[in-house]
Amino acid sequence: MFARAATLAMTALRTCRTSGRAGTLTTMGVKDSVTRTAYTSDVIGAGSPSPLVLTGSEEITIDLVIDIYPHGAWQVVAVKGELDLATAPQLREAILQLGAGGEHRVIVDMTEVGFVDSSGLGVLVGSLKHLRELGGELALVAPESSPLSRLLDLTGLDRSMPALPSVDAVAD
């Protein structure tokens, strides 16, 4: 029993470590990401048989992949990866740079984002406010079943910041 639990947890951590070399972490739905990893984990079975304790000084961040391209009057910011406290600043910076360069109408395509939490959502809300102050607009694209759509629904933000199913669904 203990051995099985240990194997499971080891597998979880090994997945992280493997991702450092391969640049993909399929269990997290992240592909083609640039990986920056300095992994120095100690797995400690401790003296007693329970609990199983894993300690580590993991330094794992899988950078977002951000593609920017024009679409009519809009600039599309297509994001791949997981949007959390560690990665959200990359998205904020990309949108700020567009705004500073005079591009104030931005579509954030979250279709390829496998995870987003309130840190990521905070950046989207902040970017929307920022672009509106510049006289622009921010539109969101994500499928109905996506993590972003679920989070917008859970927080009630879907009413003020709805996600559209595709870039083509965004009105000019």
């Binding site: 997945t15 199983l52 300690t55 560690a86």
Partner: protein, 132 residues
């Protein structure tokens, strides 16, 4: 959704615990661990996603709140899996756009916050629950 079993039914057993330095780089391993542990203990897939998000939110509060370390622990109880996070920070610091406590309430059951300790429950799937 396929009917494929998502986890080998497992006994209550000892808790599974992960201790991390509370930095932004802890979020990804915390989520991998949380999803793996929840799945292993019999939580079905939509529930696993809820656990992944809930743990990410609470560990984020630890990072934002300036905690040094954060401990995420899972154990199996009667019909549910219990998760305890120690070292959490304030869930809703002033000025935040999104109410994290409300989000967690919508995601998981029996959310309790006692100082820096946050606990919640998620139901196990019926196959695993029937085995316990």
């Amino acid at each position: 959704m396929t009917a494929e079993p998502t986890a080998v039914p497992s006994p209550a057993g000892p808790p599974l615990e992960l201790i991390l330095m509370a930095t932004p780089h802890a979020l990804l391993p915390a989520r991998v661990f949380a999803a793996s542990a929840a799945r292993h203990l019999g939580v079905d897939e939509p529930g696993v996603e809820d656990v992944r998000l809930a743990v990410s939110e609470i560990v984020t509060s630890a990072v934002e709140g300036g905690s040094e370390r954060v401990t995420v622990a899972f154990s199996r109880a009667d019909g549910h899996v219990s998760c305890t996070v120690e070292g959490a920070g304030p869930l809703d610091p002033e000025g935040s756009d999104i109410r994290r406590a409300d989000l967690l309430d919508a995601l998981v059951d029996d959310l309790r916050v006692e100082g820096a300790t946050v606990t919640f429950h998620v139901p196990t799937n019926s196959v695993a629950a029937a085995d316990s």
